[in-house]
Symmetry: D2
Amino acid sequence: SGAPTVADVGPAVVLGANQYGKAEVRLVRVTRDSARHEIEDLTVTTQLRGEALADSYLVGDNAKVVATDTQKNTVYAFARDGVGAPEDFLTRLADHFTGEFDWITGGRFGALAHSWGRIVTDASGETSEGGVGHDHAFVRGGTETRTALVVVDGDRRWVVAGLEDLTVLKSTGSEFHGFPRDRYTTLVETDDRILATSVTARWRYTDETVEAARTPGAVDFDALYERVRAVLLATFADVHSLALQQTLYAMGRRAIEEVDAVAEVRFSMPNKHHFLVDLAPFGLDNPGEVFYAADRPYGLIDGAVIRAGVAEAPAAWDAVTPFV
Amino acid sequence: SGAPTVADVGPAVVLGANQYGKAEVRLVRVTRDSARHEIEDLTVTTQLRGEALADSYLVGDNAKVVATDTQKNTVYAFARDGVGAPEDFLTRLADHFTGEFDWITGGRFGALAHSWGRIVTDASGETSEGGVGHDHAFVRGGTETRTALVVVDGDRRWVVAGLEDLTVLKSTGSEFHGFPRDRYTTLVETDDRILATSVTARWRYTDETVEAARTPGAVDFDALYERVRAVLLATFADVHSLALQQTLYAMGRRAIEEVDAVAEVRFSMPNKHHFLVDLAPFGLDNPGEVFYAADRPYGLIDGAVIRAGVAEAPAAWDAVTPFV
Amino acid sequence: SGAPTVADVGPAVVLGANQYGKAEVRLVRVTRDSARHEIEDLTVTTQLRGEALADSYLVGDNAKVVATDTQKNTVYAFARDGVGAPEDFLTRLADHFTGEFDWITGGRFGALAHSWGRIVTDASGETSEGGVGHDHAFVRGGTETRTALVVVDGDRRWVVAGLEDLTVLKSTGSEFHGFPRDRYTTLVETDDRILATSVTARWRYTDETVEAARTPGAVDFDALYERVRAVLLATFADVHSLALQQTLYAMGRRAIEEVDAVAEVRFSMPNKHHFLVDLAPFGLDNPGEVFYAADRPYGLIDGAVIRAGVAEAPAAWDAVTPFV
Amino acid sequence: SGAPTVADVGPAVVLGANQYGKAEVRLVRVTRDSARHEIEDLTVTTQLRGEALADSYLVGDNAKVVATDTQKNTVYAFARDGVGAPEDFLTRLADHFTGEFDWITGGRFGALAHSWGRIVTDASGETSEGGVGHDHAFVRGGTETRTALVVVDGDRRWVVAGLEDLTVLKSTGSEFHGFPRDRYTTLVETDDRILATSVTARWRYTDETVEAARTPGAVDFDALYERVRAVLLATFADVHSLALQQTLYAMGRRAIEEVDAVAEVRFSMPNKHHFLVDLAPFGLDNPGEVFYAADRPYGLIDGAVIRAGVAEAPAAWDAVTPFV
């Protein structure tokens, strides 16, 4: 992962890839330049890497260990100057840790961004989505969580955006047939089923985009996020699906085709089964109307979609502990 | 609870209140009368009561036990005719079980309603909230869950609506001071703090409303839900808060004042603490901008607000197992 | 609930039952009188009641509001003198709050107790359950959580012990048949099925026990807990079950019969369905061997079992917000 | 990951690594050869890989898609012949899918194993850990979950065992000092703190072990699991810790040194902070006795420990969607 630190410590055992840091720092930032406040709400994780850290593992020597408590303090202190797009905030943190401590040669800096909308009120107490909203009262919005990740290894850096728990459903426009049948196959072919999934997606930005982002204001990561999210949603809706695999690929392909900054997209998409209930024992038909939504098991479709010609970037994706 | 069944079974032990049923039946209903589909998504729990059920507890005699599997089947079969407002659907189920089986004299019928919105797309793949939305592609919406409960005891019935996990925050307009100080008090008084909570509310409708609802279409429970939710949100936003208790009471009071159908409201509202981070060690001030959002412990404010003159209805609230 | 505070505040609206406090204070106590440490691990919730608290709801006057932060501090300060049985610790807290502040006339004091066992090691690194265990290294134990609750209303007090998530399964010795059949019944009768549940139980101690416990050391709540837990487990195992209802009642009955201190027991027990998989399509039989363990829906059996002759104690069970 | 399937589908976009399958198949297996039953409880996930699967992604052609429903059926059908060690069961599944369908050239086969113990009863209803236990009544045991993973890529295969949520705590024998101090450092050095973590560990078995396991009965994966688990626990207890990093490394090192079959171990270990509560404002000292157990943030220490000389095996660890 990132910058594996391998140190021979004897005849038998070596230290492999490692990293350490502070996880899930809960940061809420209020911007109150005017009576109309803004809020930003992040859960930040910083993890540092560097060969010099090996001694903390091997002999408990902490001389190079920037305390995780210090990392937490730094997150809060940096928020004093504002947060902005999570990708930019994480980059500021990454630059700080790798710049301030010469033995910190890389790391993995991640955030979840929790969305809030303004509460909209009028004299009658009614909420109208068209309203301008309250100056300092907010309600948690959306169902999905935005994610951001900055990975640094020496002079290299990667920026990966994403989202989790974007739950979507099509009540028609989905088929599944033509699959092979063996001794264990009982599934009936269908040309009309519910297709439902909870999208987890991560997209890596191109090296050009990451390079451009070194100039403050040159890349609008918030706008890019909104654009990719919209494309993913629209593609899920528009594609007549013959398999969830096909839908997945189409979502990635269209994101790459429509958003130049995207180098590749990886998805993990459960097929959340909705089974048509057999009402015949009760003397009723069921023309695609009444469904049982099952919890487990579920299908699970994983896949990567990559812009042709871009170099692979395993370091952006590798985790020391990929325990999925 | 409801209809406690007490049977003396010897010198030592009696059976107290009891109920049984099927919990968390996951029901998705697609209405496809036209190309423009509608979906309804409920998690339904039915629990039956009646003195004749005692023998299943006392000696394992199931002659009166409407199987929980039968209850599940009934939920799905009834959905074939449409769902509608969850309060109406639960009432249909309650009427069925107490009507079909004369020894079932009451019960507790509950649902969670999960909201979905239409995915809005245009040629460019952009989502516009102003759009009409896709005919059959949906995205899970909102952050809160709507709840509905119908309790029946013989000829009596109660209808309780509610919501959970409505997470709201005010970045100012909240004070807390004037509390007593003892040996264990260290909290500093404040005239400006973040106020954040995740509202759980349940409101019971008046007997008149419940009676009126026996006429199909006479009461629009969906509209009532939207109206109360809007009042709760607006009141949270508008009240300048001196204590979360005060905000809670104001929310209930205004719901009762503005919505005639509401007899009483009960709330459980955690005070989700946001602590101002001390940045002084880093040479920085922090004028109400950078906060640590804590998980635990949290304040917990519970309270009921009741329309003057309405009769109490403990049977609507009692649970056999109130294990909060 | 407990001490409902009802205040008329105008023509329209009154304040009903209410309480407030600090929830989920995470307390770990190390006793290090010798090299052989002991640890206690509790999650404590305190909630105070009293008519004088109404003004905090009605007008935001906090003059009587013992800050929840103060409540938290008190929990930690009291732990300095030791914890002991959670029922005793909660009683000390209850006595303090109702004694120190004369307007606090009651409350609800609860705890979850998390169990730890000693790590057992020998020179070879093997763990032997028979060993004496490490002096200061522990591993989280058990699958269930012990609960304790002390409710106070003026001079009255109740003590309710319990457990959650005690997951048990019988692979035979369970039948289910003889239930009524209607249009919606498809369930097949069985004389051999898996019976599995996750027991939530709460048992209230007799008034005599609660009174006796005012003398320090007179009642050993830890021993009582272990005794009731053992009876519940043994009864689940020993009873040949014709219905989960029957098993529930037998568990409560035997707890009351064998433990004099128990006045009543309330249970909530899901019937965690294990469905025999139909292997016939694959040319295989399935003589009770291969099962699918379903998540939802599940049966849900609730019931109370009461010692004959004991007075009812609704105040021990009522919650301001019984949102089950 | 495993067998990435890359297909050029035009000028712009290619399909990268992918896999699909059925996740979280809940399997309970009862062995009832005698009155003394045995139970096995697994949650199984199968994911298949192969270049021929690309067409399902690219054009929705399912001719090569072994339905995830078929995968589920296969899991249950194979359980008819017994389960055994999860590593062996997963290997049987892997061999089946790659053998039966020549275009399935690899995959990822995982399981969680849930532990159960026998309920021990005697006539008095007491549970005695020394007893032989009930023939067919069981209680869920342990706090951690055992994991197993078999990864196949053509002729290569890897077996990775592991555990999750093994929560351990030392009440002394842990120091943390000597770390660098910068502008953002406020942490006080300590020579006595609580050290607590929830161990997630995965260990890969050597190629020799995997090869030997092709002979039925030649490798006892259950015994290996128990042995490694015991070493991890004992090492956590025995090591006087100067850093959680040091404890992590020692745990991995000793597992490799004591268990020949282990090629490498990867850990993810949160540092679950227990903060000494400042009781001075209440006139009390706190000599390491009263602690606040915090939820978030937490330290997070990741690391791999590798037997010297073994070849790296990235394919055993790579996931298509390493979204940690």
